[in-house]
Amino acid sequence: MNCVELQQSLAEGEDVSSWEQKAHLQACPACSALVKELNLIVAAASQLQAADEPSPRVWNSIELALRQEGLIRPQRVPVSSFSARWGRARWLVPAAAMLLLALGIYLRREAMPDQGVNQASVAVPVANASDLNDADLLQEVADNEPAMMTQYQENLRQVNQSIREAQGVVDESPNDVEARRSLMDAYHQKSMLFEMAMDRFLQ
């Protein structure tokens, strides 16, 4: 067996076990060094398995998608009282509900322009509620899960932008059903962020 034949046998996935291979390796320092080095590489390869950790944004994105697709469902939990159930994060419940309730009122009034409703007085509470809740939510994240802060800030930025854009379309065309639905979806996304935080901080 010569060096080329040994190389060929390695390329065919053969272990160095035949007597011809062993005899050649004993006689050829270059091939012997080659086989040792290749074995070192193979032995080192296992260090790379499961060696790295993804950033928190990966789980965050997965969780958001699972909620949007309805694959995460509320679990039945035995409770004794409202404060026992929600604990420190109980303010998130009325905050999320207020967002949707205020939006429901706003959209209903927008659909009835002839009734002389003061639209500005309805729109302002929604905007104010949104600003107050964002700051409080981020404070809760900073207190409980600081590593998630960047992700929550980005998620809030994106969902608030969606709300602003959808709001703009509704302002231009108050009777546009699709525009109102888009605005509702955007607020729904925001309430899901609160819901995620609620679940996380209740653990």
Partner: protein
């Protein structure tokens, strides 16, 4: 159908987590994710050599898994199922980018390029002792995509050649020959790296 029981005070088993995940339990989803995230993400990272792509692919792999989790019956190990799914997600991604999954070049003959007598500028540097993980990681990232895939699947993730041939749509012979070439290329890269370092320390 009754809801699965929770064992208080003890870690839930993977089977319990899977059952709870089928019921839409957020904690169960996260626990399964935490258990397997490193393996899935590392696989994606090794095969793409790009952290952003690897994170996107890991996310996609877990989402596909969770969407199908109701169909998991336990015929194979959960980790095997997840791992195979992850590999398919990455390979699909590589194919979409028109990157070679495994080179179609078949060779059964040794060539002068493969001759052990020719070291690329690193004649006096041997790979002795152990190989630094970061150096090996960088060398793997430098491999051409086809070589990288085969090395990752076989030497890092432990797939056999017959499995790789099925996954990648190549012959077993091709898988073996490309693995050997990948290892030879890694050897060259690692030796060059050591030669450069040795040269710098001599000059410094």
């Amino acid at each position: 159908m009754t809801e699965p029981r929770q064992h208080k005070g003890t870690e839930p088993s993977e089977a319990e987590l899977i059952e709870r995940a089928k019921w839409g339990d957020a904690e169960a989803f996260q626990a399964l994710y935490d258990k397997h995230k490193r393996r899935v993400y590392s696989l994606c990272l090794r095969m793409t050599a790009n952290t952003a792509e690897a994170e996107d692919l890991a996310q996609e792999a877990f989402l596909q898994l969770y969407r199908k989790i109701a169909t998991f019956r336990g015929e194979s190990a959960f980790s095997t199922w997840l791992h195979r799914l992850s590999v398919n997600v990455v390979l699909m991604h590589l194919r979409k980018k028109s990157l070679p999954v495994i080179s179609l070049e078949e060779t059964t003959q040794g060539t002068e390029e493969d001759s052990p007598k020719k070291d690329f500028g690193a004649d006096d540097v041997a790979l002795a002792g152990s190989i630094d993980r970061m150096q090996l990681q960088r060398a793997v990232e430098s491999l051409p995509p086809g070589y990288r895939t085969i090395f990752v699947l076989h030497d890092i993730e432990g797939y056999e050649h017959n499995e790789i041939a099925k996954i990648a749509g190549c012959s077993i012979g091709n898988s073996k020959s490309q693995l050997h070439k990948a290892r030879m290329k890694l050897r060259d890269l690692l030796k060059m790296n050591r030669a450069e370092k040795a040269g710098k320390s001599r000059a410094g």
